[in-house]
Symmetry: C2
Subunit: 479 residues, 2 copies
Amino acid sequence: MSGSHPYSLDFLFHPRSVAVVGVSGKQRDWGGGEMFVRALQFMQFPGPIYPVNPRAQEVMGLPCYPSVREIPGPVDYVISSIPATAVLQLMDDAAAKGVRAIHFFTAGFRETGKAELVELERQVLERARSAGIRLIGPNCMGLYCPAGHLSFNRDSPTEPGNVAFISQSGLNAEELVLYAALRGVRFSKVISYGNATDLDESDFFEYCTVDPETEIIVSYIEGVKDGPRFQRAVRAASAAKPTILLKGGLTRSGSRAADSHTGSLAGSAQVWDALSRQAGALSVETLQEMEDLLVTFRFLPRPEGRGVAIIGVGGGSSVLAADMAERLGLEVPALSDDLQAELRQFTPVAGTSVRNPLDTVGIRARDHFLKTVRLVGSSPDIHVLLIQSRIDWNPNPGQDSSQFVRQSVDILKDSVEAAGKPIAVVIWPPISLEIMGRILDFQRGCAEAGLPVYWGVERALCAISRVLDWHKQRAESGL
Amino acid sequence: MSGSHPYSLDFLFHPRSVAVVGVSGKQRDWGGGEMFVRALQFMQFPGPIYPVNPRAQEVMGLPCYPSVREIPGPVDYVISSIPATAVLQLMDDAAAKGVRAIHFFTAGFRETGKAELVELERQVLERARSAGIRLIGPNCMGLYCPAGHLSFNRDSPTEPGNVAFISQSGLNAEELVLYAALRGVRFSKVISYGNATDLDESDFFEYCTVDPETEIIVSYIEGVKDGPRFQRAVRAASAAKPTILLKGGLTRSGSRAADSHTGSLAGSAQVWDALSRQAGALSVETLQEMEDLLVTFRFLPRPEGRGVAIIGVGGGSSVLAADMAERLGLEVPALSDDLQAELRQFTPVAGTSVRNPLDTVGIRARDHFLKTVRLVGSSPDIHVLLIQSRIDWNPNPGQDSSQFVRQSVDILKDSVEAAGKPIAVVIWPPISLEIMGRILDFQRGCAEAGLPVYWGVERALCAISRVLDWHKQRAESGL
């Protein structure tokens, strides 16, 4: 199917009706579909949702049908949650019904390594091809697309965004969505595609490259079906949009795990590195790194150089942050004597530093802090300001937690204007329920204000350094 | 003072009375001491606490004295929170009173770079020497010692433990204590010592090496006063106890920050690396890494080899964990065919793997999980089990959060016995208040059960790998 116009996949993300096959009833092993029904209801899917189970009349308040064939209206999209043994019958029913696509949550095919199940997967594909049905999976979570009201869980945001995640693993997809959502990132399309028996990584890359709703493409890949096509697809994607690749299975044991997980042949680290470098994509080793780069692309304006001002409270933390920045190839230039003298006019001498790193009042002292940020931002050597927010410290006397959070976000918003340079905000992990509440509010406020928030200095500096490297590399290759 | 018997420092940690000089009153700049009074009260300091301020009669319910000299009873230990301009008078008063040690929270000395303040610090030291008073600081948070009822904040645990932290930075000291405490680590002595004008890093290392209450020594150092003596001290410490070094200021900008922070000359990365390697100590670059190593030394029995079983729920997460382990020099050996066949007798084929990584039922299915752990533990190639607890996922139907946590901790406790091998438990960061509550309970339960808990697979594997390297290196050097 390669070569078909990628726009042809739009129909996957905007079905008019969905049948969920395999919902609770008396029949053993036919459960699991409830999760998808609930997710569709949570997303306020506007069209009909048809639960299917031959032994149930009604499921979750919806009339239940004995088979896809017997559903009264047209069915665009099927989610299969039945055992592998029942899928060939489902293929026939779906073909008769004129279904356009099937997502197989159903697992237990090629990834088991058993010959008869490898063969079963082949037969499913054969029937799909002859009926003109496109397949997602098997052995995957399927689609999350807020604009199309599709989802595979009830925790993901209902608002759409500009990031597409092409993920061979459903769990990795869920994890990235949930964590990045807390930091304000939203998604256009998330595709968990498992064994990739029909639609595969190249199809999805080609589609996302031209999808107008997608501005950043991230991916978790275990195996590649067609190396040269994939390389072309990633190169095209990366030329159009920031593209991040996370490859699973690049070691011996990781590769064995990928084989057990999605029946993927994982390939070598060298080949992969060459591929991503030549394509101009960013390659990462963890979901966390991917999350940080996403936040950076989404919320940090591009710094015009590698000079970082480290602003915060705490000498030891400043020293370690400066070391970290320099180890990561960033610069922490000392402020000029003139700027230091201006800062000293309102900064007490004991227990502070104004050289950069700046160990000074912190965001809680509004006027002092904004004056500091304005002076630091005026330095031509400084291109980005790293602010250690210490929202985990106690509020000012007389303030409650939510006032403290609101005030902190406001001061940070004003700091962006005062500095006239990009600002990265750092938070520390919570040590209590109360602080966790504060951090959730703070992250929400920063996301609304368009500010990138990072867990710890190291993660912020890593992400900034990598994005700067990426811009440099692209400029050098004339991209 | 070098060469004095290190036991001589015991008196620092067990004063019979404390004067806190510089508490609120009408006098400007004399505040700040309340923090220390509150911390002493929180720790239930058994002796008298004397606030000192010439303009106040009573502070925080305690009678307040105009000077140290005028306190009625004997004073062992003074905490100074007054401006630097007033310290020479304080030295004279303390000498007249027979004070044994002074902790200068007071900052604004050598670290400012101003000649007159460098000179002032020298004069303070001179008066201390002639009066036989030992100094901690200036420009530091001082001592946290649960057994001696000393602390510098109100959040640290009141129970003593077996870890000493020698930290030139007060904030780094507080941060490590709070985060490590959540994971069950407790401290014998934490020493924030700032500019180290009298007592320095070598004094504290020598003391902790022979301190019977200390079993693990960790340190954050910005500058070293006497290189050869420090090298001997670290070597002796490391021969006696696991010793971890974090050096701040090893880059150009970090060194500038260390100079502004504690007036330290930071030295080169090469010299430092050689020092820690030759001494047989573990060198780290972040507080987080230090925290993870601490948890590992404290709670993970030493694995007898590098073979890791990765047990958890989720294929993509298993693949990435296996890659990570191998990149870090650990092994993820496939289980034997016999063991896999035994596991398959009770593990459904669809959506699982039993090769290692094991992507199977997770800790919520007690019997199944314990059988799995028993079989995995029986493999001679497996030396440590990494369990992805997923306590952040929803409880089983019919369970509330606290039942779920209790049951999970119980199953993990039983797993230790079932496996007969060390177990490392991995958790994921919370995405909601409810999950944060669950994680705090879970960490408490695991700490009580003596189980090491790690934030994410990467941090667990890093720590395990580093501790194994350290054991190997020590064995090779005949330690």
